[in-house]
Symmetry: C2
Subunit: 300 residues, 2 copies
DNA sequence: TTTAACCGGTGCAAAAAATGCACCGCTTTT
DNA sequence: AAAAGCGGTGCATTTTTTGCACCGGTTAAA
C-alpha cells in the first residue's frame, strides 16, 4: 500500500532513533527520508520529532501521530480481511499476547481446533507479562490479550473474565498431596518454587503471606512455569499455577489442588482487546469463541 | 495532506457516480483519475467500483473502504486538533446534527456561551430528522447528534438521554389555556396543527390517538416548528413541541402545558455520537458540557 | 437505423515529484 | 585536535504522475 509508505518510515525513524539508521533499515538514503519527514511535518502542521544532537525522538505530537498511524494501518488490514470475507472465504491473521499459563494446553488446543475449521487463518502467539500484554494491545502489535490479573485496565476492554484460584502442584508422594484443604501456611512450611516477582501469581502469594505475617522462602525462583512444572517432579517441593495452565487429565504425573480462597483471593484470567478498537473479523470471531469456551468450562 | 489525495478522489468518484464527472470536480483529467483508482484497486487487492455502462458505483468492498476513508480523515483531523491542544490553545470545529426543537433557544445559547470561552472553536449546526441525524454520524459528517426519539440505529452511542414530554402550545385566550391537566382527547377536539409524519412528535401523537381510537385532523400540517410556533398566535388552535424547544420565560406570548403522560408516553431527547469513535477534543468536551447542562436543567 | 453523447480504458510524451550524491555546519567522542 | 555521527541542503538524475489524443463499447435521441 503505497500511501502508507511515509507512515512506515516515520515508524522506522521512531524505532531507530535516528534518520540515518532508519534510512539504512528501509533501504533509502538519509536525505530522501529526511525530506519525507520534513514534508510530512509541514503538511501536518507541526513537528513530530525533536532534533537531538545524537538523533531524533518523537515529541508528544509525534506520539499521537504514531498512535494514529498504527491504528490506521491496523484498520486498513481489517478492511482488507473483511473484503476477503465478503467473497466467501474466511482468512486473516490473529495475534494474541498471553500469559504463560495458556501455553501448554489451552491455546494450542483451541488454535488447532479453530484452524481445522478455518485453515486460511494464521496466528501469532506471544508470551507477555501482564504489563507488556496491555502495551501490545495499544501499539496494535496484538489483537487480543489473554492474561491473568492484568495491571492498568485503562485502554483494556474486557471481553470476558474467568476466576482462576491459585493452585499448588506437587508430586503424588508429597505429604500435602492427600490433604483435604490446602492452606497457604502449609505451603510456605514446605519447600516451594515461586515465579519471579513481576508475575501475578507471585504477587497474590506475597500479599497473602504478608497478611498472615509470613514470608516466602523459595528454594527456586523462576520465570518459567514450564520449568516449575517439571521441577516439582524432581525434588519434593511445591509449585504454583492456575487451573487453565494445568492439564485436565487424571493421568498427569503431578497432583494439583486449589489453595483455599480464605488464604489467597481468587484471581481472574482476562480476555481483552484495545478499548474502542474494531477487531478484524477473524479476531473478533475467535475472541467470541474463546470467551464461550472459557465461560462454559469454568462455568461463570 | 498529500497522502489522502487518493482518498478524496475516491470519495469524489463515489459522489459523482462517474470518473469523468469526478475528474472535472477535482480539476484533473479523467485519465489521471482513472489510473489512480486502478492503482488503488490493484494495491488494495480488490475492485472497489463496479463498472456500469453509464459510469461507476461503489461495490460492497468499496463501501467498506469508503467508511474506512472517512474514519481515517476524521481521525487525522482529530489528532491535529489534539496537537494544537497540546500547545495550549483549544481550537477546532464541532459539527452537530440536531432536531428542530434545539434551534430557537437551546443550541444558540449554549454555543454562544461556549464560544465566549473558546473563541477559536467553530461550529456547524445542521437540522436533520432522526434518521438523517444518525446517517450523519456514521458518514462522519457530524460529530454529535442531538435528536428527539432517534430511530436507534446500531451505530448510535448514547451520551445522555433526557425525558421530554410532548407539550401543547396555544395562545393565552385558548379555552385549554386554563385547564389543569391536558388530555389528548381534548387536543384532538380543538383545531390543531401537527408536524409532518416523519417527525417524532407526530409519531407519538398518532400512536396514542390510535390507542384511544381517535384520529388526528390537523388544520395545518408543517415540517417547521418555527411556523407552528407563530401560527398558534394567529388562529385559535393547538400546536405541539417538546419543552426544550419552548422558551423558559414567563413573558412568552403563548401558553405551554405538558400533555398528561397517561395519554402520550414521555419521549427522550438523545445526545449521541458514532459508536466506537474517538471524538475530537473540542467535540468531546462540548458533549460533556451539554450533557451536564441537560441533566441539570431537566434533573435526570 | 443512424448518429451523437458519454462512458471507462490505454499508449505516449511532457511535467512533476522523489531520490541519490556530495557536501555543510554542528556536537559528541576519542 | 581529530574523528565519527548527526540533521539538513543544492543539484543532477531517476521515477512517478499527469495530460493529450484516441479506442471500443453502450445508451439515448434523431
Amino acid at each position: 500500500m503505497k500511501h502508507l509508505q511515509t507512515f512506515h518510515l516515520i515508524e522506522a525513524v521512531s524505532r531507530a532513533g535516528s534518520i540515518r539508521k532508519a534510512a539504512e533499515d528501509m533501504n533509502i538514503t538519509a536525505s530522501a527520508l529526511n525530506r519525507r519527514i520534513q514534508r510530512f511535518e509541514s503538511e501536518f502542521g507541526s513537528q513530530i520529532f525533536e532534533r537531538l544532537p545524537r538523533g531524533v525522538r518523537l515529541n508528544p505530537a509525534g506520539e499521537l501521530v504514531l498512535q494514529h498511524i498504527r491504528s490506521q494501518i491496523s484498520d486498513l488490514t481489517r478492511v482488507q480481511n473483511q473484503v476477503a470475507d465478503l467473497s466467501g472465504e474466511r482468512r486473516g491473521h490473529i495475534s494474541i499476547a498471553c500469559s504463560q499459563a495458556l501455553l501448554p494446553y489451552f491455546l494450542p488446543a483451541e488454535i488447532a481446533r479453530y484452524r481445522t475449521e478455518h485453515p486460511r487463518v494464521s496466528f501469532s502467539v506471544n508470551v507477555r507479562d501482564r504489563a507488556q500484554a496491555e502495551e501490545e494491545l495499544s501499539t496494535f502489535a496484538s489483537d487480543l490479550a489473554l492474561v491473568f490479573e492484568p495491571v492498568h485496565l485503562v485502554d483494556f476492554e474486557v471481553i470476558c473474565a474467568i476466576p482462576q484460584p491459585v493452585t499448588v502442584l506437587m508430586s503424588p508422594d508429597h505429604p500435602l498431596a492427600r490433604a483435604d484443604e490446602i492452606r497457604l501456611r502449609d505451603c510456605l512450611d514446605y519447600p516451594h518454587v515461586l515465579p519471579t516477582t513481576h508475575i501475578a501469581i507471585r504477587h497474590l502469594i506475597e500479599a497473602s503471606a504478608h497478611r498472615l505475617s509470613r514470608t516466602t522462602a523459595p528454594i527456586v525462583e523462576t520465570d518459567s512455569f514450564e520449568f516449575m512444572r517439571h521441577y516439582v517432579l524432581r525434588e519434593k517441593c511445591i509449585g504454583f499455577q492456575i487451573p487453565i495452565g494445568l492439564k485436565d487429565d487424571p493421568a498427569r504425573p503431578y497432583v494439583t489442588k486449589e489453595i483455599s480462597s480464605k488464604d489467597i483471593p481468587v484471581g481472574n484470567l482476562f480476555l481483552g482487546q484495545l478499548k474502542g478498537r474494531t477487531l478484524p473479523v477473524a479476531s473478533a470471531r475467535f475472541a467470541l469463541r474463546i470467551a464461550a469456551i472459557l465461560e462454559e468450562r469454568y462455568d461463570v
